[in-house]
Amino acid sequence: MDYTTKKIFGWAFILIVSFFPVYLWVVYGPGIEDLTSYAEITHSLGELFGLVGMTMFALTFVLSTRIKFIEDIFGGLDKVYIVHGILGGMALIFILFHPIFLVLKFIPQEINRAAEYLLPSSYWSVNFGIISIIGMIILIFITLFTKMKYNRWKFTHEFLGLMFALAVLHIFLIRGTISQDNIFEGYYLYATAVSIIGLGAFSYSLFIKDRMMKNAVYKISSLNQSKDLFEINMVPDHKPINYSAGQFLFLRFYNENLSKEAHPFSIASKSNSKELKVIIKKLGDFTNKLEHLKVGDKVFVEGPYGRFNFKNYKCKNQVWIAAGIGITPFLGMVEELLDHREYSVDMIFSAKDDTDFVGYNLLNDIASANKNFKFIPWNSSVKGHVEIKDIYDLAGKFREKEFFLCGPENFKQEIIEKLKKAGVKEKNIHEEAFDFV
């Protein structure tokens, strides 16, 4: 089963689980035919929006556990985090409409009651819900609409676990105080399951995962800095990890000048090479401080993650399109092509300047040594954007070809749209996400 089909199954599973409360309400609750008034319709919608939102909220924690089988379903951890983001946003939308629908029945005739419903009161079961919603709004707004230092963002993002815990208190306590109707039989059983899944996954990510996972310890063996790039080579302290070229790792550098949180970086070396290489561009507060790294510094390695490798697909005619620092996952794969000459690969590497072609010499050398690998450096400040005609001129007909893309999000989306318009099927386009948000 290819990753596109698996992804469809993955999304189908998530949506079925998320909307399970609706099924329970129809079968074991009052159901649609008992909705006889506007008040009952809006009230039921309010309850169901809340429960669907809570279920989605719980599943977002499961998706962030970095468990391997979830990665398999969605075709890589980068894709899992995208699903996590979409689901988190959907959860917020559903939860926002929970109180709105609940008070609609009071508006406009009894607007004072509606106001009382929305404001904090002596009922802590309601107050927990109010705090949880406000917290969710603030934390998701920070994630999607602001830019802050990664470690600060990560710290704030973890408070979503607290908001979920407060929402759990709300869904359990609300039945005994304010809302005494029986939404469906087995409500408490369902609420318990959702709570255990959400809180369990969150606790695992925050407290257990790092202790259970035996992070491989590496040491920096050599460092090269040029312009705004760092090339870091590492050797294992004890046991090496197994990885494929094109995958990525979470690295935690142990250096007094760097913060201790793990950051994701693409592997730039061949599969299972003894020396693990990453090439990092100065793009933010953390990467700017990498100049403090020294040879011999310890690095804790978590991973590998991702499924971005040419050998994962049977089709041996491939087109690789990279832009900027998005070349890094391709560098190890290009080296590996020397051992897999059955693959015919045409590559376009777009950069803004002639000095931005990372690994240019390596790419040229391999293109000379392997006649099945064609490489075109594309200076976008001179030639403009890569157009579909340029890809066609290099690779010929698109039928039965696999396309691999990595680079800035706008670049990728532009190329993907052009490829789709040219008739390339989505299942034949494989992209690597650099930024998860």
Binding site: G29, G85, I100, F106, A115, E116, S121, I178, D181, A433
Partner: protein, 123 residues
């Protein structure tokens, strides 16, 4: 930019949320001035009316009933009028309907507790 459509949807949902919640609180809490002396009563058994307490309605001999929002929604003399209950019955929502006696005006929170009384299909 990733999640462009999602950001737009969340933006719309947040706008709707703050618009409705903000206006409801503004009009219902800060601007609503005549809350304390209004009572919802059913004077005809088929409809409801809002009257002020100082209008001296005779409520002796079991007469006009205080009704809840649920009853109000179905107060046109149907089977569901049996659900009609007072604020004093809020802790036993599925209990036998009680004859209503005159009671003080229910507070908003008290009334809320009886609003959603419904039986499950299984029951």
């Amino acid at each position: 930019m990733r999640f462009k459509k999602l950001r737009i949807m969340i933006g719309i949902a947040l706008f709707a949320f703050f618009f409705i919640v903000g206006n409801t609180i503004a009009f219902g809490h800060f601007l609503y001035s005549d809350n304390s002396n209004k009572t919802i009563i059913d004077t005809t058994n088929s409809s409801y009316a809002l009257i002020k307490d100082d209008s001296k309605v005779n409520i002796s001999n079991g007469g006009p009933r205080i009704i809840t929002n649920t009853a109000r929604a179905t107060s046109s003399g149907s089977k569901d009028t049996q659900k009609t209950t007072t604020a004093s019955t809020t802790t036993t929502p599925d209990s036998t309907p009680q004859v209503t006696t005159p009671t003080p005006t229910p507070t908003p929170s008290q009334t809320t507790t009886v609003t959603h009384t419904r039986r499950t299909r299984a029951s």
